[in-house]
């Protein structure tokens, strides 16, 4: 196998693994956060404004780990520096 094949294969497989593993953790975390927030709203409906706002901020922070993985897999597929280097050579 020459280096073009190797780099292409490694990039595609790694990007798939990155987004697959990287979405599992945040999904579990967001599920837990929403479950806790729902039970908190059920117990204290008066505080739903605060809980919702904190929930949104927290969800965005949890989700950003998945977004980092997504950015990395996008870079591996669309803007891979190693691939560009091999193609240019």
């Amino acid at each position: 196998m020459d280096s073009i094949t190797l780099i292409g294969m490694a990039s595609v497989i790694t990007s798939g693994i990155t987004i697959a593993i990287g979405s599992v953790g945040p999904a579990l975390g967001e599920g837990r956060a929403i479950a806790q927030a729902l039970s908190a709203i059920a117990q204290q409906p008066d505080e739903s404004g605060t809980i919702t706002r904190t929930l949104f901020v927290g969800l965005a922070m949890i989700e950003s780990t998945a977004i980092y993985c997504f950015v990395i897999s996008m870079i591996l597929i669309f803007a891979n520096p190693f691939w560009d280097h091999v193609i240019a050579k």
């Binding site: 605060t50 901020v57 965005a60 977004i67 997504f70 996008m74 669309f78 803007a79």
Partner: protein, 281 residues
């Protein structure tokens, strides 16, 4: 997605005009378009402001926006929103308009480029020590780096840098992934699914604008912490607001009384809310 092909993940790569080392790319064009739009809208809105009971619909919009921003800033910082409103409000309005216009065909959100979001995050990074020094003085601000011990200094510095990076990459990743997923879906199932994802992208864009400005406010508030008189200020202001609404109320004194009671309740509830919000951080 028209001006950007599937290959490019950032509108920076689309160069429209080039002269020597001066490049004009899509990000700059749309950023300036949004700034012009915002300035024009501000000019239209503030052209004829009235203090009477009859207000124009633009002034209604302005009052809703500004009062909502003031309430949120007051909730987070537990102090008067005056000095923070212009910075946080500008951040929110720019990001919100930039994300909201994504439904316009041929438009690429400039927040989907890492350079724009990095610039916004650097603004926050600079604003935090500025507000901290304005509030507590240079030595007072620098002292919070070595609190509780001097060994915490590197962690404070790393924390400031990493949260700036996170702020930039979060906004960039969310907006870029929205446009990119729509482009991929257009290639796979071009009938109805891209519209659903685009609607979801509108929601995500609004939430991200909110998150960005709230996080900036939280970071600034953490640098200007340690003030105990927020509660009394708040009560005074609530009383003033109640008085004002009572005066402006065209209905009889009975409704004024209920308005006062309601305002008082709101004030207590707001204090409780603020306390739990800061505790959750």
């Amino acid at each position: 997605m028209d001006p950007m092909s599937l290959k490019e993940i950032s509108p920076d790569a689309v160069i429209l005009w080039k002269w020597g080392f001066v490049h004009v790319n899509l990000t700059m064009v749309f950023t300036w378009a949004i700034m012009a739009l915002l300035v024009l809208a501000c000019w239209i809105v503030t052209r004829d402001l009235s203090t009477g009971t009859a207000v124009s619909r633009w002034q209604n919009l302005l009052e809703i926006l500004v009062s909502a921003m003031r309430d949120h800033i007051r909730d987070v910082t537990r102090s008067e929103p005056g000095p923070y409103l212009s910075f946080i409000g500008t951040l929110f309005l720019f990001i919100a308009v930039s994300n909201f216009l994504a439904v316009v065909p041929g438009y690429v959100p400039p927040t989907g480029s890492l350079s724009t979001t990095a610039a916004l995050a650097i603004c926050v990074f600079v604003a935090v020590p500025l507000y901290g020094i304005m509030d507590q003085g240079v030595s007072g601000y620098l002292r919070h780096y070595i609190r509780p011990t001097v060994f915490m200094l590197p962690f404070h510095v790393i924390g400031e840098l990493s949260r700036t990076l996170a702020l930039a990459v979060r906004l960039f990743g969310n907006i870029m992934s929205g446009t990119k997923i729509v482009a991929i879906l257009l290639a796979v199932t071009p009938f109805i699914f891209p519209i659903v994802i685009q609607a979801l992208g509108l929601l995500t864009g609004m939430i991200q604008a909110y998150i960005f400005s709230i996080l900036a406010m939280v970071y600034i508030a953490s640098a200007t912490r340690a003030r105990g008189d927020g509660g009394t200020k708040r009560t005074k202001e609530t009383a003033r607001t109640a008085e004002r609404t009572g005066k402006n109320n065209p209905h009889g004194p009975s409704s004024t009384g209920s308005g006062l009671a309601h305002q008082g309740m709101e004030g207590r509830e707001g204090q409780e809310r603020r306390r739990s919000w800061t505790a959750s951080l």
